[in-house]
């Protein structure tokens, strides 16, 4: 099935090629300082109001009528370059873009051509400029990619210090987070206070929250695509930073001649220094985290590039004479990019990603160690074919193999009463193929049609438990079991996932965009706490847990003002989700061999409107956005007694109707930049008590309605000032100082409200102003 589909796609690709009085303009765009290829650079032909963007190799291809043109290149954090060409034959135009420096010229924060938000077919896409992230005020001076996304409309989380992020009313596990193509199953350090991505090694960050391109699948809400930097082929660079919590170091340069380059980065944290300041509280406690990135790139010529990249992050948290927690993530990607012809390029990847956590307890007579692990192996291939300007075709296929060990417990030492217990390993495979065509019907009409087909199989060995009918399933109502052998298909799910987007130009600086998107998710994070925690584990779809399916409809109106220096947009969306995994009240999840008896199926819906204004040019740049959104859920069960809130719709933990973010940056001159953020959100839903009673003489608080209450609203202002020592555009040795003041007016924002002995208490995290100084250097 898969092979036939792939063959059909390839045949289709080649049958589309035809050329008349046209020629191909192609080339590679690189960073002038690091010589690394730049992806996402907009290449626009001023005369034709046409354009394209460079791919992950920095390559672009445009098929144009013969003639003379002005070509403009615009990239995130780089100076624009304009070139005049006379296109009489197929032409190669390679280019280097200089990194922009705020004080020398205007800062390009958007990284697209000026009017891209009106002219491109993208909707609900956020591209972050990693260089400017460092000047944003942050807590403890730790530049954080995930935290920075929270300033974008439609992105939020359950609270300060919570891991992960929620996109447009979706859960944390519904985000596909890709680092060099490999998915990350956990994005946090230190229980969620920091994200585990070293900003110094990341080159580009793109978040798709609306229409996810057909090549990405497997998650419902968003795709966060990040690529690491490639080593410079010209010279060795050393950069890094020193902060209050961690320090970073990145080296990159040529290894053998200039064909093979290396980039290696490390970040090491020393939270113990802080812990030691409080011996009473943390006597003997130890925490540590670190992450490592490496990338080896072999580029024999401009047409081929092979990159091997790896990532490892580790956390440990040890409590005195008590349990040690450890969790780690790792990825490895081997990727081959090739330009097969002027109109056809390909990308083939082999990758692996894993996540595991450990718990070790030394409690006498009950010493144990517990481990849970997920591993994904994947192979995929994709082609991009641009037969002519009006058509851009992408197609590809992929195979994923999953192996999950939800929990295995073993005794430590002969004296331990703990018996070894291993929850059955889960195995599964996912096959997918996609095709997507971006068709520019006329300058004012662009249609993107994508279709993705996905098939998932739960594989044996697997034990399927049978439960009595017409009663809620529990270990007591278990009647029988069926065993499946190794490799046997236990259950199959899948189907077509259409991805549609339409842009209708309304004049030169205004457009209307519509999109529709379906996605399926076969992998579920099992977590029954407000915030995801490091000991949450993953689960594959099986006969009891069907895939989650989401349909998202969105519409947006985009308009630019004053020579594209001010961009405005309104986007609305509606999302319908089926087969969400919910939990019975008080469910026991970890090490539960009958996990299905603890789960409930739920329906979700989310909708919202996002307003955004961005000022992208001038000494003062910034953005203002406001989002009104809701995210609701209802459990569906044939046994009414176990429905949450008696089966009614209730808000999810991350339902925050009003969110406003204001960010601004002002260039003061002589290397100084001042920045500020203000954020306001409705408090997250919470469950307050609504009664009390006595059992066994013990006063109990009753919480009968889940998420029926809300924490007070959250708001915060952060300020920072930074100094960049660069005086010229191509200066390679420089340093950047950032002084930031987080929570400037020291608001005690509620992190949680809890109840003890019939009194209510509010816990605030970062409830005072947090100053920090970070020094970043480039050498």
């Amino acid at each position: 099935m898969k092979a036939k589909l792939l063959l059909a796609l390839i045949l289709l690709l080649f049958s589309l090629g035809s050329t008349w009085a046209r020629a191909v303009l192609s080339g590679t765009v690189r960073d002038a300082a690091t010589k690394q290829p730049l992806s996402g650079v907009t290449v626009s032909i001023q005369e034709l109001q046409q354009g394209t963007t460079t791919d992950e190799n920095g390559q672009y291809t445009l098929t144009l009528p013969l003639g003379s043109y002005t070509v403009r290149f615009t990239g995130v954090g780089h100076y624009k370059v304009t070139r005049a060409i006379r296109l009489m034959d197929d032409t190669t135009l390679d280019l280097e873009l200089l990194p922009s420096i705020t004080e020398l010229d205007e800062l390009e924060v958007k990284g697209r051509r000026d009017d891209a938000n009106v002219r491109s077919n993208d909707m609900g896409v956020v591209r972050l400029n990693v260089a400017t992230l460092k000047k944003i005020p942050v807590v403890f001076g730790e530049t954080d990619i995930v935290r920075s996304l929270m300033l974008q409309p439609g992105v939020s989380n359950v609270g300060e210090g919570a891991g992960g992020f929620n996109v447009r009313g979706g859960r944390v596990d519904q985000n596909l987070v890709l680092l060099d193509g490999a998915p990350l199953f956990n994005t946090s350090h230190l229980l969620g206070f920091f994200s585990n991505l070293n900003p110094d090694v990341v080159q580009d960050v793109t978040l798709y929250k609306g229409t996810i391109p057909a090549r990405y699948g497997g998650r419902l809400s968003s795709a966060l695509v990040m690529n690491t930097r490639t080593g410079s082929p010209d010279r060795w660079n050393v950069s890094g930073g020193v902060g209050t919590i961690s320090s970073r170091l990145v080296v990159d340069g040529p290894v053998l001649g200039n064909k093979l380059t290396l980039m290696a980065g490390a970040r090491l944290a020393y939270p113990n220094l802080i812990i030691k300041l409080f011996p009473d509280l943390f006597e003997g406690s130890k925490a540590s985290f670190s992450d490592l990135n490496g990338k080896l790139t072999y580029q024999p010529n401009d047409r081929h590039r092979v990159a091997l990249s790896a990532y490892h992050s580790a956390d440990r948290f040890k409590f005195p004479a008590d349990t040690t927690y450890g969790w780690k993530s790792g990825t490895a990607t081997l990727r081959w990019n090739a330009v097969l012809s002027r109109t056809l390029s390909s990308e083939v990847s082999l990758l692996q990603s894993s996540y595991e956590f450990n718990v070790d307890s030394p409690k006498p007579f009950y010493e144990f160690s517990l481990r849970s692990q997920i591993r994904q192996r994947e192979a995929n291939a994709g082609f991009t074919f641009t037969p002519r300007e009006a058509h851009k075709l992408e197609a590809g296929a992929g195979y994923i193999h999953y192996r999950l060990q939800p929990g295995s417990l073993r005794p430590d030492g002969a004296e331990s009463s703990i018996r070894p217990l291993s929850i059955e390993t889960e195995l599964g495979q996912e096959l997918s193929a996609y095709i997507q065509e971006e068709w520019t019907l006329s300058p004012s009409l662009t249609l993107t049609t994508g279709l993705r087909y996905v098939r998932f199989h739960t594989l044996g060995p697997y034990t399927r438990y049978l439960y009595e009918a017409r009663v809620p399933s529990s270990p007591e109502t278990l009647t029988d079991s069926i065993s499946y052998g190794r490799g046997e298909r236990v259950q199959s799910y899948g189907g077509w996932e259409p991805r549609l987007a339409l842009r209708i130009g309304l004049g030169t600086n205004q457009s209307l965009k519509l999109s529709y998107n379906r996605s399926r998710q076969f992998l579920h994070l099992i977590s029954n706490t407000t915030a995801i925690s490091p000991v949450d584990f993953w689960k594959l779809s099986d006969p009891f847990v069907p895939p989650q399916v989401a349909d998202q409809y969105s519409v947006g109106l985009f308009r630019n003002w004053k020579d594209n220096s001010i961009e405005t947009s309104i986007e609305g969306y509606y999302k319908d989700i089926t087969n969400l995994v919910e939990y019975r009240n008080g469910a026991e999840l970890l090490l539960n061999p009958y996990l299905e008896t603890a789960l409930l199926s739920a329906l979700g819906k989310a909708y919202g409107v996002e307003f955004a204004v961005n000022k992208t040019k001038g000494r003062l740049t910034g953005s203002l956005n406001y989002t009104y959104s809701r995210s609701l859920i209802t459990t569906r069960t044939e046994f009414p007694g176990e429905a949450i809130n008696r089966g009614a719709w209730y808000p999810t933990l991350f339902d925050r109707p009003h969110i406003t973010n204001l960010t601004g940056s002002y260039t003061l001159g002589k290397g100084w930049t001042g920045s500020a953020n203000f954020t306001y959100t409705t408090g997250r839903p919470n469950t307050y008590p609504d009664g009390q009673y006595l059992v066994n003489g013990i006063p109990m608080i009753n919480y009968s309605l889940r998420n029926a209450d809300r924490l007070p609203d959250y708001h915060r202002l952060d300020m920072s000032i930074s100094h960049d020592s660069r005086r010229t555009r191509d200066q390679t040795r420089y340093s950047v100082w950032v002084i930031s003041l987080y929570n400037f007016y020291a608001r005690k924002n509620p992190y949680s409200i809890y109840f003890q002995q019939f009194r209510s208490y509010q816990l605030s995290v970062f409830g005072s102003i947090i100053p920090s100084v970070t020094w970043n250097f480039h050498y």
Partner: protein, 351 residues
């Protein structure tokens, strides 16, 4: 040891961690909803003989702690059904304790292996029933040990006590769910009553003490292994004297164990975002006509075994102890100032 235990630990330390980051825990007032009072059932049946009791109350408003104590349900009809034999036992209200219903028929003896159900007919014509549950077999207690301790978190009471630990052998090849209760009879001192000669009498007596902690254990991760050094109870020490300790070991159904696990889980909330999500703790009792209406509390069907221990208590340094526990010597006749005070220690405590 359950999966949640890890989270509880991580949670408590995270709490400290965040509390450090901010030093910021403060009492606040939040808008509190009040819902209709809900039925609360505390019922219990085991193989240690009658009487069997069921207590019925209604939940009260959160803003009025204690309001539930005055909301006893006195007009209900309460039955215990032995579903396996179709026997029916009528429980009658106890006048001195409003809300408490007790079996009067002493010939009805609950047995291990039989199935039991409660039926509650409320004055407003609603009928609540429990899921029928089979009484699990009792597991004998192997031994009890006591260890003197001088530190406690309770600043309002004596810092001294005997920590009582239990050892038992879990039954292999079956799921066992345990709950333990313990009580003791200890020696207390009062100032006493002065006679005409100026001599104080009725200074010493014996009084029962207990606590109401819910201590449970499941053998899910240690089937067939010995249960060692299981902490149960602290028998408080005020003066030198023997401690007569009695421990009940209940064998619970899985449902009952899960109820108490959720019950404890909801009490362990410390305020971080890794807390278990607040939820009502329902047991096995529900409205027969509308199963979405569930009662708080539980009708517990359990097998029980007992074990007793006498702690000699004579190794303590009386003088040192006296200095620190002097404030617990209160005026009056020892027999009356302490609950059920008796001048005679228990006889034949150890069978």
């Amino acid at each position: 040891m359950s999966g949640k235990r890890y989270l509880v630990i991580i949670n408590q330390l995270l709490f400290l961690f965040t509390a450090y980051l901010t030093g910021c825990v403060e009492e606040v007032r939040v808008p509190i909803r009040t819902i209709e009072p809900q039925l609360v059932v505390e019922g219990h049946i085991s193989n240690d003989g009658p009487p069997y009791t069921v207590r019925l109350t209604r939940s009260g408003s959160f803003n009025e702690p204690g309001s539930s104590e005055s909301s006893a349900i006195t007009e209900a009809q309460v039955y215990i059904l032995e579903t396996s034999t179709n026997q029916r036992l009528h429980l009658l209200p106890v006048d001195e304790q409003p809300g408490l219903y007790q079996s009067g028929d002493s010939t009805f003896v609950a047995r291990v292996g039989q199935s039991y159900q409660v039926r509650i007919e409320l004055p407003e014509e609603k009928v609540f029933v429990s899921e029928p549950e089979t009484m699990p077999e009792a597991v004998p207690v192997e031994s009890l040990t006591a260890r003197f301790t001088g530190n406690t978190g309770n600043v309002l009471d004596t810092p001294f006590g005997y920590d009582i630990f239990l050892n038992t052998q879990d039954q292999p090849g079956q799921r066992n769910y345990y709950r333990w209760t313990a009580n003791s009879i200890i020696r207390r001192e009062a100032i006493g009553v002065r006679d005409f000669g100026g001599v104080f009498h009725k200074k010493f007596c014996w009084t029962p003490v207990d606590d109401n902690e819910i201590i449970i254990y499941a053998d899910s991760y240690s089937d067939g292994q010995p249960i060692r050094e299981q902490y149960l109870y602290r028998s408080p020490v005020y003066i030198v004297g023997k401690h007569f300790v009695e421990v009940q070991q209940y064998s619970l159904t899985r449902e009952a164990y899960q109820y108490w696990r959720r019950f404890n889980e909801q009490r362990q909330r410390v305020g971080t975002i890794f807390d278990p999500i607040p939820s009502p703790v329902y047991g096995n009792v529900y409205n027969q006509a509308d199963p979405t209406e569930r009662a708080l509390g539980l009708f517990e069907v359990a097998g029980v075994s007992q074990k007793r221990l006498v702690v000699p208590g004579d190794t303590l340094n009386d003088a040192l102890l006296k200095v620190q526990t002097l404030r617990y010597v209160i005026p009056g006749d020892c027999r009356y100032v302490f609950y059920k005070g008796s001048e005679v220690p228990p006889q034949n405590w150890l069978p």
